[in-house]
């Protein structure tokens, strides 16, 4: 198991710098500089898409929601308060649009995993590797594929509110307060969702490791699970 690595201030500093650059772009956009707004969209389109996919489980719907979110942000730029961060504001719009989308869809959307499988050939199911952390030994390729597939399956099986907190925290590095603001829930709810989502992913990882190397400390995981329930 990897050692605990409490988040350093680097990530915070990076996000603070990005937020400052966003504010400068917003100021220009508010003065009518469309190129500045385009730059803002380009900076955030990928991450916004990840958040939207986590929430609605469909690429096309996610892309549509992100486009709409940027349009709404554009129309409301004059009202944007510079004391908040652009991405928190944007993610809040995406979260609201996703809720509306889910209401409209009313369960008509196919499960995400099914969509993914339906859209790709079997050979393309090489979900992302873990090369950066597992080394590049070709003999490990199969195992890494299976680990990634296990994580993908576990992630797809999570409810959307669990996926959203995972993406906002692990990919975007948002603080608990920012996540709460973006999702419109309390900080305690964010923490609880994040904890349980991580536990589920960790269990998937443990199952996969146990299958291949057979020395997973299941007792520790079970104890941690029990603690979180008490």
């Amino acid at each position: 198991m990897n050692s605990a690595m409490p988040a350093t201030s680097n990530a915070k500093d990076k996000r603070a710098r990005e937020a400052e650059e966003d504010r400068a772009l917003i100021k220009l956009a508010q003065a009518g500089d469309l190129a500045a707004f385009r730059r803002l969209v380009e900076r955030h389109q990928r991450r916004a898409f990840s958040v939207a996919v986590a929430l609605v489980r469909n690429d096309d719907d996610a892309r549509e929601i992100v486009q709409e979110a940027f349009l709404r942000a554009f129309k409301s730029l004059a009202r944007f308060q510079s004391d908040s961060t652009f991405f928190t504001w944007l993610y809040r719009i995406i979260a609201n649009l996703s809720v509306d989308h889910a209401r409209r869809a009313g369960g008509r959307t196919a499960p995400f995993a099914e969509q993914r499988l339906a859209n790709v050939e079997v050979d393309e199911l090489d979900v992302p590797f873990l090369g950066r952390v597992e080394g590049a030994d070709p003999l490990d390729a199969l195992r890494r594929r299976e680990i990634a597939a296990s994580l993908q399956a576990a992630f797809d099986a999570l409810p959307s509110y669990h996926r959203a907190v995972i993406v906002l925290r692990e990919l975007e590095g948002l603080s608990y307060e920012e996540m709460a603001e973006a999702l419109g829930v309390s900080k305690g709810t964010v923490m609880s969702r994040l904890f349980h989502a991580r536990r589920k992913l960790q269990r998937a990882l443990a199952d996969c490791y146990e299958e291949h190397v057979g020395h997973v400390d299941r007792a520790a995981i079970a104890e941690a699970d029990a603690r979180s329930e008490r």
Partner: protein, 187 residues
């Protein structure tokens, strides 16, 4: 009272760098003495999950066309149409500001015109009523009569048509103004 669940969440918050002050110190002390706490924190911050998520997000962004969202947004904004949508609020505010400035400038202008009119050379009395008792001359082509009244000074002005406004051969229009002085009992 803190539960073990609270403890677990606090340890997770520590792993995420979300704790400060006393809570942070408490979590650090706990990690020094409790192997299960260390295990929990390690699981909460497994770099493999983060690495997989990053790769998955990149792959998904490529597959889903996330890099073309800006193009689509600007197509939907429609260039000038989008620009006008953005500026419509500003234009409205600009019009309101100009109107307010015009109004603010107009009020003193009205006052100025009124004062200028009242300061104009005294009109000449005209014989408009048998009760007229005095007649004064004026160079403005306007006549003024004063009328006896028990309580107020009453003056009658006849203002002839303004020079330059009259069409050739047209009879000059005129206006009659009755001026009642508020000073009661003036002679």
């Amino acid at each position: 009272m803190k539960t073990e669940r609270d403890d677990a969440l606090e340890l997770m918050a520590f792993a995420d760098g979300q704790l400060d002050g006393e809570a942070k110190e408490r979590a650090q002390r706990r990690l020094e003495t409790d192997p299960l706490a260390r295990e929990l924190v390690a699981q909460m911050h497994d770099v493999r999950v983060k690495a997989w998520l990053e790769d998955a997000a990149d792959e998904q962004a490529l597959r889903g066309g996330a890099d073309h969202i800006a193009d689509a947004v600007f197509v939907r904004l429609g260039g000038a149409a989008g620009r006008s949508a953005f500026f419509v609020g500003r234009v409205r505010r600009g019009v309101a500001l100009v109107a307010a400035l015009a109004l603010a400038a107009g009020i003193p202008l009205v006052g100025f015109v009124r004062r200028a009119f009242l300061r104009a050379p005294a009109p000449v009395a005209a014989q408009l009523d048998p009760r007229v008792t005095s007649l004064r001359s004026s160079s403005a082509g306007v006549e003024l009569d004063e009328i006896d009244s028990p309580s107020h000074d009453v003056s009658v002005f006849e203002i002839s048509g303004a020079a330059g406004e009259l069409a050739a051969n047209a009879p000059p229009p005129s206006s009659v103004v009755i001026w009642i002085d508020d000073k009661p009992g003036a002679p």
